[in-house]
Amino acid sequence: MMLLLSLLASFSVFSLMAVGGAITLIPEMHHYVVESHHWMSGQEFAALFAIAQAAPGPNVLVVSLIGWKVAGLAGACAATVGMCGPSSLLCYYVAQLWQRWHASPWRRAIERGLAPLTIGLVAGSAMLMSEAANQHWTGWLLCAGSTVLAWRTRINPLWLLAGGALLGFAGWI
């Protein structure tokens, strides 16, 4: 029970820090579940992220998987509700005001000011995830290859994930 409350409380706080979406929280979540509580290894963390990416649906599902890994189904619910609850409540109320602030120069300033921070946070998450996921130079090579393909071409990411899974299955990663 204490574990569930801890998950609920921690993810409720994360929820309000997730400027730019759940992806920006990766370093913070990694610190919480891997470094301070040792609930899973860095590789398991990377595997959960990979499963969430390979499944349909929003990115926030990685939070549900982390909760599940820590405390089963109840943990998944606690983490998901914590992650979505406070931010949703905030969004519900701000959405009503947002149109009224249409003309306010501060609205534009908030959008414009937060954009660079989001970019920095996503870059930080990408770096941490690469370190957690790539154990050998073959992993780094695959990672770099999929980065270039996803960045430079319009290929469906699912094909890249399928290719990566296949290479891993063949024992090359």
Partner: protein, 186 residues
Amino acid sequence: MTPSTIIPSRRQLFLGFFSIGLSGFGGVLPLAHRMLVQQRRWLSEEEFTELLGLGQILPGPNIVNMSIAIGSRFHGVAGAWLAVAGLMLAPLVIVLSMAMLYDHYQSLPDVQGTLRGLASTAAGLLLAMALRMGTKIERHAVAVLLAVLTFIAVGVLRWPLLLVLLVLAPVSVWLARQRGRAGDKS
């Protein structure tokens, strides 16, 4: 609301977000745009952009925030619940089933290898996302500097996110306001 848009019923709202949740891989935004604006015409292009902006500046998962804003716009609190439930329900069941399979078979070398390949690729997709966002950054030294500072603080020095945000967010918004003022004058 513009006359050409359609107001969905509660049932349509739930089913619409259900299909968004089920069909989006690696992020659902492009799909949400196609369905909400082009196919079902619940929102105009401007309304979508506005709600997307809102979803992105507020903390929390972007698409969940958008579901809340869209659901509540049409059907209040009930609409918000229906939209989020529709969005999350099927993906949650699928991802948890996949995780259980992984947990059951994770000791097999084949499964471990597959997951390693999957994880490296997923990290690559995330790097590509960061690069794409980075190339679209506002062409202004201040914006670039703030992005780099945020990256170093969180990604390299691993400072706590809350601390970084409490310092950098107000500074960045204030500086953006100054840039806006300078733009108004010129």
